[in-house]
Symmetry: C2
């Protein structure tokens, strides 16, 4: 590396931003679940994340198929009740994702405050768009 001028190649590629996890709704679901080792009910999750039934159902299926959450269907009294929990590997994946999120944030804050001016070569005229 650093065979070129800067060695910054791919500096902002963020390959670790797992597409399955990097999603508004899913991020909320997982963060909710991460806090409770014994899981959450479908209905609670729905309220916590302000999701519609259909939406939540869809996302849970995706997460289940990815082996990130496990879903247990049971009954409360005689009404169906679905319990969702992070799997162990799901938790690891989530933590990994959070790790790169941290580095994104670090870059961002860095950028925000520094806003350093790199000397730029503006050769001839740049016509406005």
């Amino acid at each position: 590396m650093s065979d070129k001028k800067s060695g910054d190649e791919g500096r902002y590629a963020y390959e670790g931003l797992d597409r399955v996890l990097h999603e508004k709704a899913r991020l909320g679901i997982l963060t909710s679940l991460a806090a409770r080792a014994d899981g959450l009910l479908f209905t609670d999750l729905k309220a916590l994340c302000n999701l519609t039934d259909g939406n939540l159902s869809r996302h849970l299926t995706v997460l289940q198929e990815a082996g990130i959450v496990e879903i247990k269907k049971g009954f409360r009294g005689r009404r169906p009740q679905t319990l969702c929990r992070l799997t162990e590997s799901g938790r690891r994946r989530y933590l990994g994702y959070i790790g790169v999120l941290e580095s994104v944030l670090a870059d961002a804050l860095d950028a925000a405050k520094a806003t350093r001016r790199t000397k730029r070569v503006l050769p001839e005229g740049f016509s406005p768009a």
Copy 2:
């Protein structure tokens, strides 16, 4: 609020996660740009974010149409050269997004270390999926 049991309704909804910004590639692009007030060239951006030409072009168009970046086409010598820069409102939007990212991260780290066990009511048998 707190008209129900917990007052946590929508606690994890993260409505501020702007869909236009919340995207792997775009996030990288914006973070790159945020650091340099005088902008970056198409080719630099491409290298920094490990994007293909087509991809970068696509994303830039989206960002431009959303008024987040401005694109100036000019020439270096007599080769075309495209300069991209964050607009002022784009910067604000980006900072807003980063703000909610911080809160997501705070929640996540909280969850990760605490992993508190809420007492759960598991009424009758939960059959394994």
